[in-house]
């Protein structure tokens, strides 16, 4: 990890107020992201990964809120920033690409208007300058300039998502958060989008937080990986190493749930049971009820996120043992 942390999340707790109480969808998450780095966050549905992304952008709405913790962006705490100041940060410092390529664009505004309104909101530029910028960004994502006049319904799903990426990068943000940006797309388009993001990152030098439930997508392009379970990070490490040698039983289970894009064909596994109810999470390790290697202590003692060295963190007392044993 780079010494110069651009984003530092410390003990973040965020979630949703319900009639039965506050659901801690993100329950004490901490991580650091260096400049130009690519962090993948993976986990199953409901593990809090999207809430984490929305919390960083301060986009939690209605009954959702940040309960505690700090989100230090270039040393400034976003969690307590005034709404107006935060609005100024959005898109200039950090931009976001959303899961639903199909519905993320306003159907009654042209692509050009939606690209340039972000520019006009944050920079004092003339109309032609904004349009030039929009054309340049579209070119970056391989879309012809005459598409500026198009409306969202005239574009394919893959094109919409590329327009969204162009839109996210138009103000050259330092951080790009991508919340399952390829989930709604077919596999071939997924691949091209991910390669595009990787190229652009190398060209423009922004950092990426890439959220997905599909680990196999992340291995090849992310620098670091964080695995989330039930609102917490259960394992963190360098992408390749973590993938080759997972320490946490949950990471292992997650990997067995997806086919790799390359490599030998193996029998698929899965994880039995369901993610826990976050209103009343199980005592001890939250994964214990589903863990194939759970021991008696696991349901009593809450595991810490231990540093195993080499930048690897693991929230399982068994971590490190497996590493020496070299399973998988």
């Amino acid at each position: 990890m780079s010494d110069q942390a651009m984003l530092e999340v410390e003990g973040l707790v965020a979630g949703y107020g319900t009639k039965k109480g506050f659901v801690r969808a993100v329950d004490g998450v901490s991580f650091r992201l260096g400049k130009g780095r690519f962090l993948g966050i993976a986990g199953e549905s409901g593990c809090g990964k999207s809430t984490l992304a929305y919390a960083i952008m301060r986009l939690l709405r209605d009954n959702a809120r940040i309960e505690s913790g700090r989100i230090l962006f270039k040393g400034e705490d976003l969690a307590t920033l005034e709404p107006e100041a935060m609005n100024g940060r959005r898109w200039t410092d950090m931009a976001m690409v959303f899961q639903s390529a199909m519905s993320a664009l306003n159907p009654v505004l042209s692509v050009g208007e939606q690209l340039t309104d972000a520019v006009h909101a944050h920079r004092k530029v003339s109309r032609p300058e904004a349009v030039d910028l929009a054309v340049e960004m579209l070119r970056l994502v391989d879309i012809n300039a005459d598409r500026l006049k198009s409306y969202p319904h005239q574009l394919s799903g893959g094109m919409k998502q590329r327009v969204m990426i162009a839109m996210a990068l138009i103000l050259k943000p330092d951080l790009l958060i991508m919340d399952e940006p390829t989930t709604a797309l077919d596999v071939v388009v997924q691949r091209s989008i991910i390669e595009k993001i990787d190229d652009l990152r190398k060209e423009l030098g922004f950092s990426v937080i890439f959220i997905t439930h599909d680990l196999s997508l992340l291995v090849e392009i992310s620098d670091e990986l964080a695995i989330m379970y039930a609102g917490r990070i259960c394992e963190y490490g360098r992408s390749r190493e973590l993938f080759d040698c997972p320490e946490h039983p949950y990471t292992e289970g997650l990997m067995n749930s997806f086919p790799t894009l390359s490599g030998p064909i193996v029998r698929m596994g899965g994880i039995d049971g369901h993610a826990p109810d976050l209103l009343s999470p199980p005592p001890g390790c939250r994964f214990a009820p589903r863990c194939p290697r759970a021991e008696a202590d696991c349901s009593r003692v809450e595991p810490e996120l231990r540093d195993l060295g080499d930048g690897r963190l693991c929230a399982c007392p068994l971590g490190g043992r497996a590493r020496r044993g070299g399973t998988r």
Binding site: S100, A104, N106, P107, L109, D117, A121, Y151, M164
Partner: protein, 317 residues
């Protein structure tokens, strides 16, 4: 398509009154005393009711006359031509009903936008409750209540009519009397119809606010005014526009009961009188007018939607 629909409307307009029982000449004469049989015949001749032409030929004449602007002579206001009767009534209805429909649509929609955008505020919740309550009043009932209190009891507004007969037409005091006469019917219409626009817009808007593109707009850090108008309201208003055009079309005849309550000399009141007097030419002219108005309003709605929604624009190409 528009012309075909108009033709169908015209034809129905011709045949339907002829299916009604009763003899217009006798109905007319029943109002007068001591009429001789020969006079009855001459009145029939004057009204063109003595024709021996087959129905098909009458139909042809009707179509030809209608297209040349000849709507016939009113039975009940003989010998005034129908076109002239209409010219007197239509401005009152357009002025009162048309203006009220437009005002209540604009106000209702704006309040709906506010009630959705600031839905956590007390004022927004109150406006929802208030308009749901007010909307459920039957408008003629509200009209009667207003007439009773403001005209009969408090005597602050005239009890009926559209203008003061004492003032010279077109003078300042005449216009003032027009406003005073129009105030109660206008209030009735606006109060009872605004609620529907407000609640429709609020519901549409709340649905639209949950859309992903609103979250994207927020993430982009756009000015909230732009998000409210171009991202939320522009999408939310689309279903309302069609409804608005429909109601504009029905403005022409839809004010019937209101105009009756306030004895307002508009098209609705006149239709009521025409039906009572079996004044076929006038009835036909009014129905024709309503049908045409609905058609034109729908046509305008299609154009407006095409202007607002690029998806419809593409479908029309």
């Amino acid at each position: 398509m528009l012309l075909f629909t108009l033709f169908v409307a015209l034809s129905l307009n011709f045949f339907l009154p002829r299916l009604m029982p009763g003899d217009p000449a006798r109905a007319l004469l029943a109002k007068m005393d001591a009429i001789q049989p020969e006079q009855l015949e001459s009145i029939r001749a004057a009204f063109g009711l003595d024709t021996k032409d087959p129905l098909a030929l009458q139909y042809w004449h009707y179509l030809a006359n209608t297209f040349s602007g000849n709507l016939g002579v009113s039975f009940s206001r003989f010998p005034m031509p129908v076109a002239q009767v209409m010219r007197i009534a239509v401005p009152w209805t357009l002025g009162l009903m048309g203006l009220c429909t437009i005002i209540s649509f604009i106000l209702g929609t704006l309040i709906g936008v506010f009630a959705a955008w600031r839905r956590e505020t007390k004022l927004a919740s109150f406006s929802v409750g208030f308009f749901s309550f007010v909307r459920s009043f039957p408008y003629f009932w509200l009209g009667l209540v207003f007439v009773y209190f403001f005209s009969f009891r408090l005597r602050v507004f005239p009890i009926g009519g559209a203008y003061s007969v004492d003032a010279t037409r077109g003078s300042g005091s005449w216009w003032l009397s027009v406003l005073r006469h129009g105030a109660l019917p206008a209030l009735t219409i606006c109060v009872t119809s605004m609620g529907a626009w407000m609640l429709t817009m609020r519901n549409n808007m709340i649905n639209v606010l949950a859309e992903d593109y609103i979250t994207v707009a927020l993430a982009k850090g756009l000015p909230l005014r732009r998000i409210k108008s171009l991202y939320a309201a522009k999408n939310a208003i689309l279903p309302s526009v069609t409804g608005f055009a429909m109601s504009l079309g029905f403005v022409v005849g839809g004010g019937l009961v209101t105009e009756m309550v306030f004895s307002y000399p508009g098209v609705g009141y006149m239709l009521f009188q025409a039906v009572n007097a079996k004044d076929y030419p006038l009835m036909q002219a009014i129905f024709l007018f309503i049908a045409t108005a609905v058609l034109i309003a729908n046509f305008l709605a299609d154009i407006a939607i095409m202007f607002l929604d690029p998806r419809v624009r593409d479908g029309a190409k």
